[in-house]
Assembly symmetry: D3
Homo-oligomer: 131 residues x 6
């Protein structure tokens, strides 16, 4: 259970419902997931988050599948269970194969490990790495 | 300054020097960065880390540039300054353009933000996201 | 399920029971929440934690509601689900309105986002910010 | 040194310069801090971040000083050195006294401590805390 | 529920089953815990993780119980619920008494607290602490 | 530079100076490290932190060296550079050999890695691990 109740379509404001409709249209599905239903208590944050998410996750110099995997990587390091679930599902929907998933997880584990080794040893940054 | 001194080629064990030589051969450069020079105090961990890193970061279902960017994402979420520097440099060396770098940073920021929103609201995972 | 069982009033030591009684008196309720019932396995830590919590969360230069919201902010960044729940409940009990809750969550999300942007770009601290 | 160079007014795009001008106008100072000068490599992210920051940090149900202190709390938990420095400076500029700063730090320390105790013991959330 | 199904002995590859058999032999139990059953989707990562874990957690300059407690400490700071549970169980199996567990938790809480105080105040490292 | 200036003996309150004197007496050295000099702006937090630290880090069911290593483990996972430095120095002063240091770092790295693997896969906790 969350710290706020999830809001149904009938319980949200008109402003929030318009965002739900845009989520449905952009994603081509009637399903609006729990994150947005929790965020709908604050229509301004709902609107700003959805607007920026659409912009950031759109195809660009990086393709949307790579972006979903980057999202999983950050969410894993931050220990956000919901986010790992939702963006792993998103990555699968965008074509992530089991092999790609396995490599994603392996890179995350490797990075976590060397993050720990480096921080434990407090290694100074090499001059050659600095912009 | 680190919690252990960085070891020069002359100060490391024969086992560690062999790893340094492999790093040089695989990367096509004489430069061995500080991480390995700190890790060389413990040749077993040096050997195991390098062996696994080669395996994990090799081309596979994901290409090496994507893997470097995933590494930057995890390292940023963990606040590992050295790792952000070294893997950003690695990503640039593998072809990351300024546009790709900008999108990488934007996705990291977006993920951090929604990680915070979701955790602050303690949103339950949707059944549809579960494997 | 926790890594230790929760202790009922009948199962705790006399020292721990005295702390439970003080928790009840200070908070004006019979309910002692799970955190204290888990901590009661170690009466010294129970006593030290409760004593310091009373001191830190008391009215001072900052009011208790602000302190509860700061607690939620830290707990969210650390991914402590129990702590987010208990201190969100605490903040509501001290007068946090839905509007305040919405702004609290929005600030947490914003801070998480710029934490990620700054760390990803490894921005140097401006001299003007240093004490 | 960062992973990207800081951009002077002369080096940024017209779009980024317009954001710098708005930062100056809103804050009533000529100084544009390093964060924005690093972010200016990606004008879209610069514009979106500044627009949302203005919205989130504006006076509302919470006052701007409380918001700055919440920002410090999150940034501390995430280990973002730059962010701790910049938002502590921001809080001081908005009236945070040494006494308030001391209490802010004490609450952060307390929250970190009980986050650790709770997570180490894996305490289940009390039903009474659930929305 | 995880992001991948847990694999039974009948569902895993021959390579993964051989790892399961080694886990059983080394630990002297038929039980193979969920972590390995999830990891078995990627036999290479399963094999590498198990091989390195055996090496790292073996008796050496530190005894295995101390290593399990260190594992709990890191896992708590990272908020990994599964890992806190599994390594607390491992520590108990290796002889951790309730008194030792209590002190482990108290040290974790203390370290979390001063991590927060130090980071909030951005204290410079004393020269005497540098290697 | 920190967010508060470090206070010399002449600049602190009588209450804080008494804590400094106790630190000197307990540790058998004239040197008072920066953490305490920053914390001295808030004598109440200085006193409470020092009192609890003495209690938690004293010999008990776990020996002080193990406690220092646990402190390094938590501080590494939290990315607290100051804390890693100060408690690594503390562990060395209490007898941590280079071999022990190497194993400490290796366990931290291993734990970080499997924390990432488990969280990325969202593995459910085995019933057998629950208290």
């Amino acid at each position: 259970m969350g710290t706020v109740p999830l809001l149904s379509d009938k319980e949200v404001s008109a402003e929030a419902l318009a965002i739900f409709d845009d989520i449905r249209a952009v994603r081509g599905t009637d399903y609006v997931n729990n994150f947005w239903r929790a965020l709908a208590h604050d229509p301004e944050t709902l609107a700003a988050t959805w607007a920026r998410l659409k912009q950031v996750m759109a195809p660009g110099a990086l393709d949307p599948l790579v972006k979903e995997m980057l999202y999983v990587a950050v969410s894993t390091a931050n220990g956000c269970s919901y986010c790992v679930h939702s963006h792993t599902a998103g990555a699968k929907a965008k074509g992530m194969t089991p092999e790609m998933h396995g490599e994603l997880i392996a890179v995350i584990g490797m990075a976590m490990q060397t993050n720990g080794l480096v921080t434990g040893l407090q290694v100074d940054v090499d001059e050659v790495f600095q912009a």
